[in-house]
Symmetry: C3
Subunit: 150 residues, 3 copies
Amino acid sequence: MQIIEDLITAYAHDIDDDELESWPNYFTEDGTYTILTRENMAAGLPMGIMHCQGRGMMADRIKAMQTANIFEEHTYCHILGRSQINRHDQGFEGRTNFTVLRTMQEGRTETFAVGKYLDLFTVTDGETLIVERKVVLESRRVDILLVRPL
Amino acid sequence: MQIIEDLITAYAHDIDDDELESWPNYFTEDGTYTILTRENMAAGLPMGIMHCQGRGMMADRIKAMQTANIFEEHTYCHILGRSQINRHDQGFEGRTNFTVLRTMQEGRTETFAVGKYLDLFTVTDGETLIVERKVVLESRRVDILLVRPL
Amino acid sequence: MQIIEDLITAYAHDIDDDELESWPNYFTEDGTYTILTRENMAAGLPMGIMHCQGRGMMADRIKAMQTANIFEEHTYCHILGRSQINRHDQGFEGRTNFTVLRTMQEGRTETFAVGKYLDLFTVTDGETLIVERKVVLESRRVDILLVRPL
């Protein structure tokens, strides 16, 4: 599904570009966004590390982040694997492996996060939106900078 | 070729999910699976580090691995690049770069393997299967844990 | 756009395979190739670290590189994320995140480069060529081995 893959790619590029204000617009009005670890997921603890319900809560988080952000400047680059997309109820479900590489001010690059997106999408009148995005991280060792969307 | 790329992606996700029993089913009954290094390949030594001929041999290997596995628990995440797919005889050939990231129990992530899949596929009656998969690793320094399929 | 993504993938594979002579042929006769850092780009300094104008200059660079190359042998493997492709004037523009993993003679693998391709393409009579490729690196810490195309 071209249009779903386009959305997944555009989402990653916007975050890489620090266009965080546009982040909530990838979701439906009451869409959900959850970051959890693979370990949480396997243990049936789906609420995880961070949970946003609805665009309003997402926008609040971005505002809080921009106010609080006193850390040195990093840059982020998402490398996405190919998505697996299937029909699901009235919409589609997707799975996309990713790694986010972070580059420090002085030039060093490190693996910031590795995991998969487990998504539900709705496609209506040519508009594609995320109904639910679970960001399932491989590692339980979560960076405290993880106030930023992934 | 959508259906071939779907197979390549599903294969990687199954291994990431530890669904190793389904691994032989991606191949034709007498399909082959070989792990070799780029150096081997260039030197015309194509048999490499590991070679399986047929689903039976693949299934045996999975069983042996599950019996022998006394190592600490890791998790694996494949990041696949875009595939190059071309017609070849009665089927298709494909090339897909990959990296496999391994996360340790305590949370550290490292590059486990980097290389490319060189594949031959058959597509019949809507069923797509691997006739031959060569996993060509960049590094000659091969982890002894490499009893696991890549 | 299948044909554009095919070109982007083939370009990366050719470089991985050390088929550097074919590199200029991915560009139009007077196509441009520029390597710059994200920091340069943000500061409006687009000429960056390296700039080639036209196939002739690209071919010269490959020749110079092959003459000068006295370094130990490394291998390179591009992992490309999914491309974002849009119409642009008479052609197309594309953005593709990438990471290049370098493996040393003794087997160690490291992240050599991380960044994005910002491309302009022309598609005529079934032939797809690069009109302009900007390689925007995340890091200002640029390896001196960066005489090689990315």
